[in-house]
């Protein structure tokens, strides 16, 4: 299983805001256990999807030079269950961002209905050899590419968001092996 809980970005404005969608399908194994006969997307995985939407936004702001981890869920409210067939639209907006980390306000909508809302805090992990092997920028960039960020992305100056130069080199070295 790939730990990717969003399917595609539909909006990405560097340093400000991003929107991603998550389609919920009965093909997802875990829905058959959560719960038998009454499948619904676990709220924890909705938080994870919101965190991935916001975390990539925060990481891209620093060109993936900081290792971004979800440090705290300050608030999470769920208004109704998300079920197979639903398309969740996740929106993440950066409230503040500093050397130490960032805070993000995030929502999940089904159509126009507010399904969930959360406040998330991300920390920049102190640098160390261990974190380098866990958080290689190329992995993030590959995931961003997979999720279509560079198709919809806008840089802070309003221009098109471009892939970091490192990705071309990464592809030349044999591409994603994960």
């Amino acid at each position: 299983m790939r730990w990717i809980w969003i399917d595609k970005f539909i909006e990405f404005e560097s340093g400000k805001r991003a929107q991603a969608i998550k389609n919920i399908s009965l093909a997802e194994e875990h829905l058959h256990d959560h719960f038998p006969g009454a499948p619904m997307m676990p709220n924890s995985l909705i938080v994870e999807g919101l965190a991935q939407t916001g975390g990539l936004l925060v990481g891209e702001y620093n060109r993936f030079e900081e290792k971004v981890i979800l440090a705290k869920v300050s608030k999470a409210l769920f208004h109704f269950p998300a079920v197979p067939g639903d398309t969740l639209r996740y929106t993440a907006e950066i409230d503040s961002i500093t050397d130490g980390g960032a805070t993000v306000t995030a929502t999940s909508h089904v159509g126009q209905r507010l399904q969930a809302e959360a406040e998330l805090m991300f920390a920049h992990l102190d640098d160390g050899n261990r974190s380098k092997t866990l958080f290689e920028p190329k992995n993030f960039v590959f995931t961003m590419k997979l999720l279509g960020v560079f198709d919809v992305g806008r840089a802070s100056d309003g221009g098109k968001l471009v892939e970091p130069p490192g990705l071309a080199q990464f592809k030349a070295e044999g591409g994603a092996n994960q």
Binding site: A71, S74, D95, S96, T98, G100, G101, M121, A123
Partner: protein
């Protein structure tokens, strides 16, 4: 320009939201770690909330000087050295370091900072009236 009471109220609000404590637990004498249960990651959260509430910048290490406490130059056998204490005093004029200096175990440091210290810190960053 806020008054000292207004600063305290905003800090109380920030701590209630960041730490999930009740308003009446947030007294000036309460320690952030011991009484209010703050963990290291909460300090980052508190810093974000203070920056927003008071429109100030809180540089990394200013409110909680973790760089000094993890520096081998200033810590020996789990205790902060005399030079380390000097650095802490210079960095944290808002905190009362007397009791800590007498027995400077690094592990006790986190339990020293009080709500009042935090108020004094914010007062040093904004102009106070009254």
């Amino acid at each position: 320009m806020p008054t000292k009471d207004e600063i305290f109220d905003k800090i109380k609000n920030a701590l209630v939201e960041a730490l999930g404590v009740d308003e009446d637990e947030v007294t000036p004498e309460a320690t952030l770690v011991g009484d209010l249960g703050a963990e290291s990651i909460d300090f980052l959260d508190i810093v974000f909330r203070l920056e927003k509430a008071f429109d100030i910048k809180v540089p990394r290490g200013e409110l909680f000087p973790e760089d000094i406490l993890t520096n081998a130059e200033y810590v020996q056998d789990g205790k902060v050295t005399a030079e380390g204490i000097k650095q802490l005093r210079a960095r944290m004029p808002f905190a009362d370091l007397e009791a800590f200096s007498a027995n400077p175990n690094v592990k006790d440091f986190g339990n020293m900072l009080t709500v009042q210290d935090m108020c004094r810190y914010v007062e040093s960053k904004v102009e106070v009236t009254g």
